[in-house]
């Protein structure tokens, strides 16, 4: 009975997800693209004419060949590293899923808890999370396994890799489920943890993004732990993996996952049926006082503009999840930036400047319509609301953000490069111009591509993540704005680089910023003015 109920919940959840995918082809396309990219990366370079241009990095196929050539230990290290990253990645994604599923208080949760035993509901949630992660991870793992098997000429490697992948998903999901629920329980019972939840989420987000940006280092670190034993399991048919480790991974995974699952079910029962924390019923942290920045704003800006900026700051401070969106550039341009700074180390300050502008936009201004939520009608009905909204958002982002970008760029230039002071200064100027322009560019792009997804009338005013398409377009525009200065400042003398080229590049970027900024401002105001609900 319980199993049938749990499976029914899981089936319904996935049916809903499929239907969402059908009604939002862009979302389905992005998911398909992500899946295809993941598969291409794990397959890697293959001896197929044309494809070698696209897939240059070594992947499953090349490592399979190396395995056949007797380079087992090196291949084992790589595969163990990938397995270790896999477990941590799946666990972190599951922590996030567990937290957001609870925090969004899906309206059907209470109905489920009244219809089935809480243990059944908890088990169904675990299965949903595992199914969701598995749907993305296992096809990628299978593609890597097939590539490895073909490269090594050993067909048994493909199913071994899939079995190891199943272990990674099972263990990672179970750990993440327990971890996510433990965090939720800590938020419920320890006011200090709840108050400083950013201190809990921040390091987790840092680990998550480090997995992408510093994948080589993360792989060698995690591959040396027992998490790397799944690499031994994947390579078991070839004899390259340690047999003992492979057997342990195969034998321990299921009981461990079941044990963790049982702990998770128990924790879930306490989390979902807990009373709301006492403090939440009467948060009275507002004493009506104004910070120095707010007082400065009130003294120097029009009252409506100051009101918009202050409301933005208050919302960011009290619901800091928007600050996590600042990490989106890492996903979009992280690996490119890492490669760029490896190839041209002196470009680091410019990368910092552009990244700063991107992060500010993605955290604060790239989804103004979605962030306003149900308040939007009231905002646009304020006389001149569209201009005030744009001015307020620009101030909210620029006042703390642009000086921070300038400082970070300056410090990166002075401490981490041997660039002449004049070039560092020029880079800071470019950083300020790009970040400032980014405020209005992001508002215009966000106005064109708003994200209302998940707009729940009962939680309508919470900030929403910008649309990935908006984030990609924003990253492209910002990169284009900085590119003349980048080319001018860092081009080697052999291809025309030098002081003159640097000056021309910086001037071009500043002109571009002025033109694009003006256009974006007008566009953003017009978008809000003509916005219909």
């Amino acid at each position: 009975m319980a199993r049938r109920q749990a499976l029914s919940i899981v089936r319904t959840k996935f049916r809903r997800l499929v239907r969402v995918g059908r009604t939002k082809p862009w979302l389905a396309l992005i998911q398909a693209f992500t899946l295809a990219t993941g598969m291409a990366v794990v397959i890697g370079r293959v001896p197929v004419p044309g494809l070698s241009v696209l897939l240059q990095e070594p992947g499953g196929y090349v490592y399979g060949q190396r395995l056949a050539a007797g380079d087992g230990p090196a291949v084992r290290r790589t595969v163990a590293g990938v397995a270790g990253i896999g477990v941590v990645f799946v666990a972190l994604v599951t922590v996030l899923q567990t937290y957001t599923a609870y925090a969004s208080r899906e309206t059907t949760a209470d109905a489920h808890l009244l219809a089935v035993p809480v243990e059944t509901y908890a088990a169904s949630q675990l299965l949903v999370f595992a199914g969701f992660v598995g749907a993305f991870v296992l096809p990628v793992v299978a593609a890597g396994g097939v590539a490895l098997a073909v490269g090594a000429g050993d067909p048994l490697l493909a199913p071994a890799v899939v079995v190891a992948g199943l272990g990674v998903v099972a263990l990672g999901t179970a750990v993440g489920f327990v971890g996510g629920l433990a965090i939720l329980r800590a938020f419920q019972t320890v006011p200090q943890v709840r108050e400083h939840r950013l201190a809990v989420g921040g390091p987790l987000a840092l680990v998550y993004f480090t997995l992408f940006v510093e994948s080589r280092r993360a792989g060698s670190l995690l591959g040396a732990t027992p998490l790397g034993w799944y690499g031994d399991l994947a390579l078991a048919p070839s004899g390259a993996g340690a047999v003992g480790h492979a057997l342990l991974a195969a034998g321990v995974t299921l009981p461990l996952a079941v044990l963790l699952g049982a702990v998770g079910v128990r924790l879930g029962s306490t989390v979902w049926l807990a009373d709301p924390p006492e403090g939440d019923a009467g948060q009275t942290d507002a004493d009506g006082s104004r910070s120095p920045a707010e007082r400065l704003l009130a003294a120097t800006c029009a009252r409506p503009t100051a009101a918009v900026a202050r409301a933005n700051w208050l919302r960011l401070r009290r619901a800091p999840k928007a600050l996590f969106f600042m990490a989106m550039p890492v996903i979009i341009v992280g690996s490119t930036s890492a490669e760029l700074t490896r190839a041209i180390p002196d470009s680091l300050p410019m990368v910092v400047a552009v990244y700063g502008g991107l992060a500010l936009g993605m955290g604060v201004t790239l989804n103004p319509l979605g962030n306003e939520g149900a308040v939007l009608p009231a905002t646009v009905l304020a006389p001149g609301g569209e201009r005030r909204l744009v001015h307020g958002y620009v101030l909210a982002m620029a006042l703390p953000g642009v000086p921070l970008v300038a400082l970070a760029t300056l410090l990166a230039g002075l401490w981490l490069t041997a660039l002449p002071p004049a070039v560092v200064l020029a880079t800071v100027v470019v950083g300020v111009a790009v970040a400032l322009t980014g405020t209005v560019v992001s508002l215009a792009i966000g106005g064109l591509l708003p994200n209302y997804d998940g707009l729940d009338p009962t939680d309508s005013a919470a900030t929403k993540m910008p649309k990935p398409r908006a984030a990609a377009v924003y990253a492209l525009v910002m990169s284009l704005l900085a590119s003349p200065a980048f080319a001018g400042l860092y081009a080697p003398a052999s291809v025309g680089g030098g002081a003159a080229a640097g000056a021309v590049g910086v001037a071009t970027t500043l002109l571009l910023c002025a033109a694009v900024g003006r256009l974006s401002y007008r566009r953003a105001v017009a978008l809000f003015r003509t916005h219909e609900l």
């Binding site: 939440d280 019923a281 009467g282 948060q283 009275t284 507002a286 004493d287 009506g288 029009a302 009252r303 409506p304 100051a306 009101a307 918009v308 202050r310 409301a311 208050l314 919302r315 009290r318 619901a319 149900a374 308040v375 939007l376 009608p377 009231a378 905002t379 646009v380 009905l381 304020a382 006389p383 001149g384 609301g385 005030r388 009338p457 939680d459 309508s460 005013a461 919470a462 003015r529 219909e532 609900l533």
Partner: protein, 252 residues
């Protein structure tokens, strides 16, 4: 010369593709009156309110609110207040901060705003909770905060979409008294609700929208006279009579 009516529409029409939401809506609402806007679910009430508040453009026809054409948002917005069905509030702010924010956005002088906010919070029994975050508010408290926000700048015309929804009897009474008082101050109240006794008690004129068309308009007593069924000849009987669909009756 008599002043412009508070709301005047002329053959107002709104379509979404082939779907007609509002059709040939012509009405005149004098200043300082309470207009009860009734209609079954999906009749086009919210679409009408959105057109009149400039949030949606009509497909054809014209209208003025407080003498300003609805095609000119900048001209209309200083004169109106609007409470949508879901109160437009930021969950992260406190009630007082929310009201200060909108007073600031509408450029109400700070001192005036403070006085009005205190007075309205007191009137709606929200003073004690004014410094709690809105995400901890009950539905009724949210609704009351939304109403205060809609009238804070003392608009000429206020559009209220189901203002008594979710309120307990005491709060509903306060809301009804407030609406009556707004009308006494020459503020025009455009009141959309399903709660017929509220309209019966407060409205000077009642308009009934059915399938996007205004099918009846008059004083509550006048409409009751049109009731063809029911022993009491209540507003409910009148409403059911004018929104009666013969096709439904035949198939029933």
């Amino acid at each position: 010369m008599s002043p412009d009516p508070a709301v005047q529409t002329n053959a107002l029409r709104k379509t979404y593709d082939d779907e007609v939401a509002v059709d040939d809506l012509t009405m005149t609402i004098p200043r300082g009156s309470v207009y009860g806007f009734l209609g079954p679910n999906g009749a086009g009430k919210t679409t009408t309110m959105r057109m009149l508040t400039t949030l949606t453009r009509p497909t054809s026809g014209s209208a003025t609110v407080a003498g300003q054409p609805i095609s000119d948002r900048d001209a209309v917005t200083p004169h109106i207040g609007y409470l949508p069905e879901e109160p437009p509030l930021y969950d992260e702010l406190t009630g007082r901060e929310q009201l200060e924010y909108f007073a600031g956005l509408r450029d109400v002088p700070e001192e005036t705003a403070s006085e009005r906010i205190e007075s309205l919070l007191d009137r709606f029994d929200l003073l004690e909770d004014a410094d709690k975050r809105i995400d901890a508010y009950s539905k009724g408290m949210r609704q009351k905060t939304g109403v205060i926000q809609a009238v804070l700048h003392e608009p000429d015309v206020v559009f209220l979409d189901e203002p008594t929804s979710g309120l307990d009897p005491r709060a509903a009474r306060t809301m009804r008294d407030t609406i009556a008082e707004l009308a006494e101050r020459e503020m025009t109240v455009f009141l959309s609700t399903h709660i017929l006794p509220v309209v019966d008690e407060l409205a000077d004129t009642v308009g009934v929208l059915h399938d996007g068309r205004l099918v009846a308009e008059g004083t509550p007593d006048g409409l009751k006279q049109r009731a063809e069924t029911g022993e009491q000849r209540s507003l409910e009987d009148a409403f059911l009579a004018v929104t009666h669909d013969p096709a439904d009756a035949e198939t029933a």
